[in-house]
């Protein structure tokens, strides 16, 4: 029961880990390369979710300075780092996609298994 309570309390972490596993599974098992790229993005997003939820405490406010009242701010550091992470993920995605378009021009397929088959026949 205690474990269950722990899981319910930390549902952000649980969802992040589930998404990480789904993303990694899709990335490693699907042979379509565009699918791999999408799955890579899901995997990255899950890690970002985990990171940002570390910086969030229940009921905390966005870290923007406002006049007057004392406000309970969320930790701004994870957010700032994750921005960089998202940009990095996007650049990897863009590079991977341009590779896929080029590979398609040579092999006429986006499927990694088919590419391996074509290469093994040569």
């Amino acid at each position: 029961m205690e474990t269950l309570g722990g899981i319910i309390d930390n549902y952000y972490y649980m969802v992040a880990v589930i998404l990480f596993v789904i993303g990694m599974y899709t990335m490693l098992t699907h042979s379509n390369m565009i699918k791999k790229v999408i799955a890579m993005n899901i995997m990255d997003a899950s890690v970002f979710l985990m990171f940002v939820s570390v910086g969030y405490a229940h009921g905390s406010q966005a870290p923007i300075i406002r006049e007057g009242a004392e406000i309970f701010y969320a930790n701004p550091l994870p957010g700032a780092l994750i921005l960089t992470g998202i940009v990095v993920a996007v650049s990897v995605t863009a590079y991977a996609l341009s590779l896929i378009v080029k590979i398609y021009r040579y092999y006429d397929t986006c499927d990694y298994d088919e590419i391996c088959e074509i290469r093994s026949q040569e």
């Binding site: 990480f20 985990m50 992470g85 990095v88 896929i100």
Partner: protein, 492 residues
């Protein structure tokens, strides 16, 4: 003081500035484009040497980006070990770049050569950053830059093997980075710091409260760096990527890039995680046994290859495992061996790939069996190949022996003679696949039949420099070993 104070940051930054100037320069002043990169790398080399002198006199130097002290700001750290690594990285990349100038014109289309310079500077800059940084998130960003630019210098030669290999590399390296970032999150969760020094202090206490977080982080780090450095069962991307790339890229990737990640794993184990963690679970043992398997299987796979560059790539898997063995043995002189091997193998493997590049440039032959009698038409190249092979096998008089010697001695000292046997067996296996090539090249009676193009002098000069270095590193070991012992004494 003056500008020398800023060397830790400038070493990294000048590469990025060069990287963004060179496409502009390539458009308008093509003549200066390559010279700019050479000047940049040479300047970085000079700064590294001067920094090393400073550090040996005055102790470790810290540099705070933007004047913000840690744990808020990004910190760069220059201690003797990092500077040794930086020296290896930068000098080897300068050497490879000079070789690349001639080789690229034959392997790449003219309009992408300018971009190759950009990518090369970004790659060297990001590696320098990985070595110097003292902050986990900065490490993540630089690792990703390094991975993308490493993939890009493979795929810049737009043929089908390169594209496919670099896609495979990109996906597996993205998986590695994902694991790494998850590990970083675990550590941040437990401590709230990202700076290595702060983490090291804080983790010793946090280990009592959140042991599982920290175990998970350690496991994820092993997977992440193992994937990127091609530790044995995670090596699948390496052979294709390193074999299909243009020869200078192969030399760079096999010679330097994979070692950077081994070094990063070393930093995680000795600068981030507390000693209690390494004593609590046998992480070192895991790495040690994977490395032992890697040395053997890398060599066995290499034996089965018929393509010259592919054989060299598989041999890298065996050789990187020695470095991991140094980390896994957890003993000072084993680490000296490991780091000595980083230096020796960087030079040796880069030189072997250069020799392969010269052979391909001059004759177009990649198949090992067709190399019979080539020693008579390309003597300098094949002598370089011979010396490189000798160093790989660990024949006395070459640098390869020294690192294996240190590893074996420390394995005996801590009472693990099994690993001495592993080292001996893998040396024997290395000999089995390197020596036939050498023997065939020189001893075969039949003449080499293909036409040969004359080899540019610059390329041969690069090979000669490599040969000289390997021989010197086999005899005159004292300065480097003293430096390493001094540097590693800080960790024990």
């Amino acid at each position: 003081m003056g500008v020398s104070e800023h060397f830790p940051a400038l070493i990294v930054v000048i590469f990025f500035i060069t990287a963004f100037i060179s496409p502009l320069l390539y458009r308008w002043g093509r003549k200066f484009s390559a010279a700019l990169v050479i000047v940049t790398i040479a300047a970085a080399l000079g700064m590294t040497v001067s920094l090393l002198v400073t550090v040996q006199q005055a102790g470790t130097v810290f540099y705070h980006m933007g004047g913000w002290p840690p744990p808020w700001g990004i910190e760069f750290k220059a201690d003797p070990l990092r500077l040794f690594m930086l020296l290896v990285v930068i000098s080897v990349s300068l050497w490879i770049f000079i070789f690349a100038l001639r080789d690229l014109q034959h392997e790449l289309k003219k309009r992408v050569i300018g971009w190759y310079y950009t990518l090369y500077s970004i790659l060297v800059g990001s590696m320098a950053g990985i070595v110097l940084t003292n902050d986990l998130f900065n490490l993540f960003v630089l690792m990703e830059i390094c991975a993308i630019s490493a993939c890009a210098i493979i795929s810049i030669k737009e043929d089908r093997e390169c594209l496919e290999a670099s896609f495979k590399y990109l996906i597996l390296s993205a998986m590695g980075t994902g694991c790494f970032l998850l590990g970083v999150v675990m550590l941040y969760m437990a401590t709230g710091y990202l700076n290595y020094s702060f983490l090291h202090l804080e983790l010793a206490e946090a280990f009592n409260y959140y042991p599982r977080n920290i175990f998970t982080a350690a496991a994820l780090f092993i997977v992440a760096f193992g994937t990127k450095a091609a530790l044995f069962p995670l090596h699948v991307w390496l052979p294709d990527a390193h074999a299909s790339a243009p020869s200078p890229s192969s030399a760079m990737l096999s010679g330097v890039v994979i070692k950077i990640y081994a070094f990063a794993l070393f930093l995680m184990f000795y600068e981030v995680f507390p000693r209690t963690l390494l004593e609590a679970i046998p992480l070192n043992e895991i790495i040690l046994w994977l490395a032992a398997l890697g040395t053997l299987f890398g060599s066995i796979f290499a034996m089965l290859q018929s393509d010259l560059k592919k054989m060299l790539a598989f041999s890298s898997i065996g050789q990187i495992a020695y470095i991991f063995m140094g980390i896994g043995l957890n003993h000072e002189s084993a680490l000296v061996g490991g780091f000595y091997h980083i230096m020796v193998h960087a030079v040796t493997k880069a030189m072997l790939f250069m020799a392969a590049g010269v052979i391909i440039y001059s004759t177009g032959v990649r198949d090992i069996k067709k190399l019979a009698g080539i020693g008579r038409v390309l003597p300098i190249t094949m002598i370089a190949f011979t010396i490189g092979s000798a160093s790989m096998v660990g024949i006395p008089g070459t640098g390869g022996l020294i690192s294996k010697w240190f590893l074996a001695i420390s394995a005996l000292e801590i009472g693990r003679p099994v690993f001495v046997i592993v080292i001996l067996a893998s040396s024997l296996l290395n000999a089995i696949y390197y020596m036939p090539i050498v023997i065939n090249a020189f001893m075969q009676q039949e003449d080499f039949k293909k036409d040969i193009k004359p080899v540019p002098r610059v390329m041969l000069a690069c090979l000669v420099i490599g040969m000289i270095f390997i021989v010197i590193s086999g005899f005159y070991t004292t300065p480097v070993v003293t430096l390493l012992e001094q540097a590693l004494a800080l960790y024990f």
